[in-house]
């Protein structure tokens, strides 16, 4: 269970989050929709502890993330993972090393000892196979396309099986086919890990495909949260615009 209460964050002179409240239930995929620049990614960064709120609280499984000191925070977020918008793969490492990063840093949580190299290799191979990237361990991130980078980022995330997964614009900038592959991977990962997922996007097609519940982020706050059917019938100009765009994708008249 993730509980966000009265979250405020200011950058310079702009309040990006203005008393935001949100509950995310265990085991669900919550998709947060909203226009670009409204602070959706900022919310994810607060949940995983990369950003500290100016005011308000974030509770994850009864742990008050927003009040933790740096070292306590690193312990608390060990079972969380985030897929960044640009995948954020480490340029200096190949894909195998990127995927193995968490396992090498933290070792086996059961024994507290480092994983044997063979175990790491197997886990990396499995994670890459799960996202359809078998045999690319030796490739560098710069050798991959945008879609492959996103999938490699996802492999780096699922290799350590976090119970809370945060996705920042997972389909942005991808062609429709690759975007759909990513959507399917998000659902597959959720089914496999039985975790809690929060997906931030402005892509209504993706949102409807993967969401258990949808939320609308506007003006620094979550203004609606509902199941997809109820959500799409809310009388709100942004939601109605999204609904319209599902039916009539904007296109140029061809004469």
């Amino acid at each position: 269970m993730i509980r966000v209460r009265n979250l405020w964050k200011r950058y310079g002179a702009v309040d990006v989050l203005k008393g935001l409240n949100l509950d995310v239930h265990r085991g669900e995929i919550l998709v947060i929709l909203g226009r670009s620049g409204v602070g959706k990614s900022v919310l994810l960064r607060h949940i995983i502890g990369i950003e500290k709120p100016d005011k308000g609280s974030i509770e994850v499984d009864d742990v008050l993330i927003s009040a933790l000191k740096k070292n306590e925070l690193y312990q608390a977020v060990k079972n969380m993972g985030m897929l960044f918008q640009g995948a954020a793969l480490f340029d200096s490492m190949n894909i195998g090393e990127n995927t193995a990063f968490y396992l090498e840093q933290h070792g086996d949580p059961k024994t507290g000892k480092p994983f044997p190299p063979e175990v790491i290799r197997n886990k990396v191979r499995e994670a890459l196979a799960m996202v359809g990237l078998e045999g690319i361990e030796k490739k560098m991130p710069s050798d991959l396309s945008g879609g492959m980078r996103k999938r490699a980022g996802l492999a780096r995330l699922i290799v350590y099986r976090p119970s809370i997964l945060l996705y920042d614009e997972p389909t942005t900038g991808l062609d429709p086919i690759t975007a759909q592959q990513i959507n399917e991977l998000v659902v597959k990962t959720q089914n496999e890990l039985k975790g809690t997922s929060i997906v931030v996007t402005h892509d209504i097609h993706s949102a409807l495909f993967i969401a258990d519940r949808l939320a609308l982020h506007r003006d620094g706050q979550i203004v609606y949260v509902a199941d997809p059917k109820t959500f799409m019938n809310i009388d709100d100009p942004i939601i109605q615009f999204m609904k319209e765009s599902l039916i009539h994708s904007p296109s140029k008249e061809i004469s």
Binding site: R45, I48, G49, I50, K70, N71, Y74, Q75, V77, K78, M80, G81, M82, F84, Q85, G86, A88, L89, F90, D91, S92, F101, Y102, Q105, H106, Y160
Partner: protein, 262 residues
């Protein structure tokens, strides 16, 4: 006008606070969970081995110039015999530490800053945090540890090259005997001179690594931000090295005078 001054003062104080906090955090992180030997070894190689040629050339040519200047300036007054001492004293107490620090800042510090700032603006540092790893411990501590070991060693190497360069010029160009060059060095170069050079090298190492890493992880604003941070890291390091050199020279000599008086 006053508001602008106030704003700038607050900005600079905040920056100093962040920098000091980073240095403390790096020390604490390194002490709590020392970085892996592989990470340190990689940095030892980048900072130390890869800088050898540039440090050697700098030390060597500086030795040439010092020997030539000393010979011409002092030779007229019949003091050509102190050429070796002049070269050694200047290299050990001032030019060795300063020039090595400058060279390492230009070659390694700037690259360090550019790498870290690229990682910052492409969210790679956030990715490290999101995987419950302290970036100060993973990224900065190995550079810091390697820096404080390697920069004094590089300085020693630079000093040696400088004295050797001076020797070549003094002996083979100005026909001084090797004994005339080396004997006064043995007499006039004290342990204090060597210690003060090494203390300076150590402090410069701490400054340049931490400043370049700080500027790197605080970068923002895409490719332009990376360029800006890299330039700032080099300029700030140079200025701090020069200021600290002056303060260290004063402090170390005062301590030396006190010790001699006891």
């Amino acid at each position: 006008m006053i508001t602008l001054v106030q704003k700038q003062t607050v900005r600079i104080l905040a920056m100093i606070g962040e920098y000091v906090s980073l240095v403390i955090d790096v020390f604490a992180a390194a002490a709590k969970r020392p970085p892996s030997w592989n990470l340190i070894r990689e940095q030892l190689y980048h900072i130390g081995v890869m800088s050898l040629s540039v440090v050697a050339i700098t030390g060597f040519t500086t030795g040439f110039v010092l020997a030539a200047q000393s010979f011409y300036q002092l030779g007229e007054k019949g003091l050509a015999g102190v050429t070796g001492v002049m070269v050694a004293k200047a290299m050990i107490t001032e030019l060795g530490p300063i020039l090595t620090a400058f060279m390492v800042t230009g070659r390694v510090g700037s690259a360090m800053c550019a790498e870290l700032s690229t990682m910052k603006v492409t969210e790679q540092i956030d990715a490290i945090k999101s995987m419950a790893v302290n970036p100060n411990s993973y990224l900065i501590a190995p550079r810091f540890i390697a820096g404080i070991f390697m920069i004094p060693l590089l300085t020693l190497f630079s000093i040696t090259m400088g004295i050797f360069g001076g020797y070549l010029i003094a002996v083979y160009l100005f026909n001084l005997s090797p004994v005339t060059y080396f004997d006064p060095i043995k007499i006039h170069i004290t342990l204090f001179d060597v210690a003060s050079g090494m203390i300076k090298a150590f402090i410069f190492g701490v400054l340049l690594v931490t400043v370049c890493c700080y500027k790197g992880i605080k970068a923002s604003g895409g490719a332009a931000g990376v360029g800006r941070s890299t330039t700032q890291s080099v300029v700030t390091s140079y200025v701090l090295i020069l200021i600290s050199d002056f303060l260290l020279t004063l402090a170390l000599n005062m301590i030396h005078q006190e010790m001699k008086g006891l």
